[in-house]
Subunit: 401 residues, 2 copies
């Protein structure tokens, strides 16, 4: 059974489908569904031209559980790969339970009317999935996803226990626009303008958005300012590695990007509260999305690299060691290979790998799981083989900040 | 005959109507008309409470010439005081010609679909106004308006001829918002983001917006950065004082204001070209206007002063002299007097003065005129009496920039 249904036809989905089409022995039958059929057709055409593989497409409103159930029943997939908006996670999981179908996603559920994301809603489904013998793999992208695998891999091979974990996400790509977001602006701006939150002293420490700044010298890229943020994998990692004393997530932003975010926030354009415009209720952030460049249009103009990884300090045979595991990804090379830039590529490839491990029953266990709860080695091997090779270096000492 | 019709019920109009209500012997019968009757009612109520004067109000769409003609015929005013949007100037002038009514405004005509303003459209009406024995007084606000009177006054009393004219407009008011515009954001942002243009070497010299910056030490305010811009009075002043070799207009902006303007331009929010939003055509600048604070709400929270004036260098008996004439206006004092801040006050008072001079036939000549074409002395006297006193100081030498 290697019949899969991919829901969502954005940049990440395009990468995942391209990568699956390159492995016809694993993914024998791919159906791609989206609210906008045109987006599915575009990916279908590219995959046909590039690999001479036929994928099926379908129109689907994934907010509607009945509609999703009907489509699943029609094609009987082994697995749903959910690459739609995070607002839709729970409805798609419901449809999986109704139809006895496995589930995988890359980003955790987020309610639409509140800028808040956490795993609890999805973890609460664990018993139901177990009872039905179904598996749900959460957060199989890059961060979350590969960063969780890096953490498990570091613990397995280099350390006896982890004291501190820092996830560093650097995008040194340049798309030439004064301001654009690399993925859905609505999701992106909600994430960036949220409070920072990190784990320390057995508790979540909350701070204002975009204020704790450190310059870090990234491999192959050089020094960049990075900012303390909250990112969803911290929640599962401190749960699954309870020995962790400190866990932080950092992301780089240029001064110009931050200036734009600050102004847009100041004037209320990032608000998700509707305002009255000529008698209509319009959400400023959704209007802003229409004004900004389409993230899908950035691929063929983005140059430069990304570097995402984990710096982990812990004990090894009674001594302190620090290991830095990272991937370097080149925007232009990604675009040449699958027609998408590195932000979509680094998320889309691990989604394909997670799906492959489930189909091959290498990672296969009823319940709702995060990726660090499985053996990291097969995932690490597949990353090396499918375009996201990793490197690990031992640092002289732990981070000074 | 001192029956007047005021069209437009924004911040400037409120000041003009308050000031007229304080002079019941000059303005015996005031009618205030606007598309939004509620705005007229608000001003009507305040004027009644403050001065026990009854003004009439009417609902009017001034885009519609027939509707304007009907209203004029009903109340037979001596003069229309046009304080509506500059898009409507020509239609209101047409209505004046049809009904044999004099005309006054504070800002020149600007086509709605193009960020361009110039006097030619209105000057072209001169012959028609002359033939009917009607007078139109253009630009009787502060700048244009008082700055033109200052120029004529300097020439009349201090110099034999003018070589260079610099108009300096400083608003050191603080409304406490990260970003807001002091008048209609649509008009304000169109003005600020337009190319700079100044007169030099017998020609208009055009440059990019907001790049030519000079720090100037303003009386009672201190040093502020001011930027070379285009402002409409330059066009009439170099025509009416053909000896002028160089004429420039400068306006102060804070770094934060400019940062907001830059970002809003970068992302296309200041564009007047409609974009598609859920099947509707929406002009980004008009949506932005709805998101920003209402300029009318700034009055009771703005502190600080404005300083607007002219620095004029010329010959006096064969020697070079430089004279600086300016007014200082305090936002909080204006609010206390008439319930509006200084930006509305400095425009609204000169509109009342222009109307008074026309009604009293002190300034009275058929045709279309700019204010510098009349004797400046009675206007200067009335400025001193009605809240906008001016000072003139002689500078040691001409400006160094």
């Amino acid at each position: 059974m290697s019949n899969v249904l991919v829901i969502g036809a954005g940049g990440v989905s395009s990468v995942t489908v391209h990568k699956m089409a390159m492995l016809p022995n694993v993914f024998k039958n791919i159906t791609l569904a989206s609210r906008t059929l045109k987006k599915c057709q575009d990916i279908q055409t590219k995959v046909k031209e590039k690999y001479n593989i036929n994928i099926n497409i379908a129109k689907l409103d994934a907010d509607n559980i009945n509609e999703t159930v009907k489509l699943i029943n029609k094609i009987s997939p082994f697995l749903i790969i959910n690459l739609a908006l995070p607002y839709q996670d729970l409805n798609i999981m419901e449809a999986c339970l109704i139809t006895n179908t496995h589930y995988l996603d890359t980003a955790n559920y987020e309610p639409k009317d509140e800028a808040k994301f956490e795993y609890s809603w999805q973890w609460d489904y664990s018993k139901k999935f177990q009872e039905k013998g179904l598996m749900a793999l959460l957060g199989s992208g890059f961060d979350p996803g590969v960063t969780n695998v890096y953490t498990a891999h570091t613990k397995k091979h280099f350390l006896n226990s982890i004291h501190s974990l820092d996830i560093l996400d650097c995008n040194a790509g340049d798309h030439g626009h004064p301001f654009a977001t690399n993925f859905n602006p609505e999701i992106n701006i909600r994430e960036v303008t949220s409070e920072s939150k990190h784990w320390e002293n057995n508790n979540w420490q909350v701070g204002p958005a975009l204020t704790n700044k450190v310059s870090f010298d990234f491999p192959e890229i050089g020094p960049k300012n990075m900012y303390l943020m909250y990112h969803e994998e911290l929640e599962s990692l401190v749960k699954n590695f309870p020995e962790i004393k400190k866990a932080r997530f950092w992301m780089t932003f240029g001064d110009s990007y931050l200036k734009h975010i600050e102004v847009l926030q100041n004037i209320g354009m990032t608000s998700i509260k509707p305002i009255n415009y000529n008698g209509m209720d319009i959400v400023p952030l959704q209007f802003l999305k229409q004004v900004l460049p389409d993230p899908g249009s950035l691929g063929n103009r983005t140059k430069g690299k990304t570097c995402i990884g984990t710096i982990i300090t812990g004990q090894k045979n009674g001594k302190e060691e620090t290991h830095y595991t990272y991937n370097i990804c080149d925007h232009e090379q990604c675009y040449e290979e699958v027609g998408s830039q590195a932000i979509s590529y680094t998320t889309g490839v691990p989604a394909m790998i997670g799906a492959m491990l489930m189909i091959q029953k290498i990672w296969y266990k009823p319940g709702v799981w995060n990726v660090e709860q499985f053996d990291p080695d097969p995932f690490m091997d597949l990353l090396n083989k499918h375009g996201l090779p990793s490197q690990t270096i031992q640092l002289d000492k732990k981070l000074s900040f």
